[in-house]
């Protein structure tokens, strides 16, 4: 039995046990999306332009995307997801969910609801039995035309390598491309352990979409290489 088949078999079991992790499906209804658009256009993006004025490099690659994708980026700050959302632009943002650590962002109902409404996050269980359930849920979303933004290193400040396989399961099983991204500068705006941002410029690099293929491990390696390539591009721009 191949790894992909094992994953699909496990999924079948997982879907039977579904609903132990809340899905916050109301946050993806048209009224909630309208409110989210208002929050993002009216408050989030202008605020980010003040706190973390960002430059997007390689945005042209996004034009090649015609359907959903899995966006993977290095993780350094709580500002990563909002900056990615702002950088990706309204067209992609409209149908995009952010995989957010369930143990952190969904530790209280109010916190979780606020994150789901404002950022379009969905709870992602990082370890234990429910993590499979979370993955299956994200696969379902990708299959239904939703893009997914995920930070595959799992936690902040771990650099742009050592990616966990979760994103590859989503991309391969839903057959959507992976788009590598690299965020530079947010480690100075609000690093791990800090709760007050210090304004400063940020560069967001976007790489070429990577076709999913059918090998999870190969896709992880390609995504790591893709992020490393975007990092080189960003550093080159920085030094220009």
């Amino acid at each position: 039995m191949s790894e992909r088949e094992q994953s699909q078999a496990a999924e079948a079991g997982g879907s039977r046990r579904r609903a132990t992790v809340p899905t916050y499906s109301w946050a993806r209804t048209p009224p909630a999306r309208l409110v989210r658009s208002g929050i993002q256009y009216g408050a989030l993006v202008p605020l980010l332009k003040f706190i973390a004025p960002f430059t997007v490099i390689g945005k042209r690659d996004l034009a090649k995307l015609k359907g959903p994708a899995v966006f993977v980026a290095n993780h350094q700050s709580h500002f990563d997801a909002p900056v990615c959302l702002a950088a990706l632009g309204g067209r992609i943002r409209r149908r995009l969910v952010v995989a957010a650590a369930a143990d952190y962002f969904y530790s209280s109902a109010v916190k979780g609801a606020a994150a789901s409404l404002a950022l379009g996050t969905v709870p992602f269980v990082r370890s234990g039995g429910s993590s499979r359930e979370s993955l299956q849920f994200l696969k379902d979303l990708a299959g239904n035309g939703w893009s997914v933004l995920i930070f595959p290193s799992g936690t902040r400040g771990t650099g742009a390598s050592g990616f966990k396989k979760g994103f590859a399961y989503i991309a391969v099983d839903a057959q959507v491309p992976v788009v590598p991204m690299y965020l530079h500068g947010l480690e100075q705006v609000m690093p791990k352990g800090s709760f007050v941002p210090l304004p400063g410029g940020v560069v967001v690099g976007v790489g070429e979409p990577i076709p999913p293929g059918d090998d999870y491990n190969a896709l992880v390696r390609k995504a790591e290489a893709g992020v490393a390539q975007v990092r080189t591009m960003v550093k080159g721009w920085e030094g220009a």
Partner: protein, 308 residues
């Protein structure tokens, strides 16, 4: 308190002068570039021109309305300028927060409690020294304190000074308008004449791009700026005062350029920001004004005392 800008007879003449200046500058750049419209629209110069169309009237509106609107503008400059300096100098987060907070406090003191203004630099020094004293982290603390103080004197204190002069001096608003437009023209003229005339380098080890031709441009630009804003020049000012003002504004602009260059070279860092479209950071936009403003204000007072 915010005021109705239209109630001030100076508002519309100043606004249209600023707008005309931007339109003329925009047209001059378009003609000099001689590019197709499509190429031009994607160029940095186009972004810069677009930015001027926004920040020009916004600045005029904010200073005429005054109150919290002007305070917001000053806050923007202090927060962004200090943050950029923090990145250039590699200042630690504790010191950085204090720099921004004390910079903000300085704006409030300048506007609402002028009697305490002179205490600001000394008070900040006390505050900074409390960091190593209370935290016990003394490694590199002297350097952090010194660098943060440089940032304060370079960015936050002059901004508070601008607020002080604008609110305390009856001619403060006029002075601010004249100096701001003159500094902007001085910088633009320096770039234009520097590129056209070139000439000997001014201080190549500090700034290899700055030439004596550029300095001449600084002087001409500052003088043209004052003439352009003649409507705001108070009748009490003598010809000598106006001439000195032009020279001091030009000197302040050159000084700011060189200081900015030596700071970036000393710390081997350049800040890359996009907060001002087409330009990048705030600091490089306002450093000339921040340095020329106090200098020219005291030069005017000196001229006034000397000439009686």
């Amino acid at each position: 308190m915010p005021r109705n800008p239209f109630a001030d007879p100076l508002f519309l003449p100043v606004l249209w002068r600023v707008m005309l200046l931007i339109v003329v500058g925009f047209a001059a750049v378009v003609l000099s570039q001689r590019r197709s419209l499509e190429v031009w629209r994607r160029s940095t110069l186009f972004l810069r021109a677009r930015t001027w169309f926004v920040i020009g009237p916004l600045f005029v509106l904010a200073v005429f309305i005054g109150g919290f609107v002007a305070f917001l503008l000053a806050t923007f400059v202090v927060v962004q300028g200090c943050s950029e300096f923090v990145r250039i100098a590699g200042i630690g987060r504790r010191y950085a927060y204090l720099l921004i907070l004390w910079g903000e406090a300085g704006l409030l003191v300048a506007a609402l409690a002028r009697d305490f203004f002179l205490f600001l630099p000394f008070g900040f020094f006390i505050l900074l020294t409390l960091v190593p004293i209370l935290s016990g982290q003394i490694t590199d603390a002297h350097r952090q304190v010194a660098d943060t103080l440089v940032g304060y004197v370079f960015v936050a204190l002059p901004m508070a000074y601008i607020v002080l002069v604008k609110t305390a001096d009856p001619l403060g608003l006029r002075f601010l308008l004249i100096v701001t437009v003159s500094v902007a023209l001085s910088d633009i003229a320096a770039y234009a004449t520097g590129s056209a005339l070139r000439g000997r380098k001014l201080v190549p080890r500090v700034d290899p791009t700055k030439t004596w031709g550029g300095v001449l441009g600084n002087l001409v630009g500052a003088a043209v700026g004052i003439l352009w804003m003649w409507v705001a020049v108070p009748s009490e000012w003598s010809v000598a005062a106006v001439v000195v003002l032009a020279v001091v504004i030009a000197f302040g602009s050159v000084w700011a350029d060189l200081t900015g260059s030596f700071i970036q070279r000393a710390f081997r860092t350049e800040v890359r920001s996009t907060v001002i479209l087409g330009y990048g950071g705030v600091l490089s936009r306002v450093d000339s004004l921040l340095m020329a403003f106090p200098l020219s204000y005291y030069a005017l007072i000196l001229v006034d005392k000397v000439t009686g």
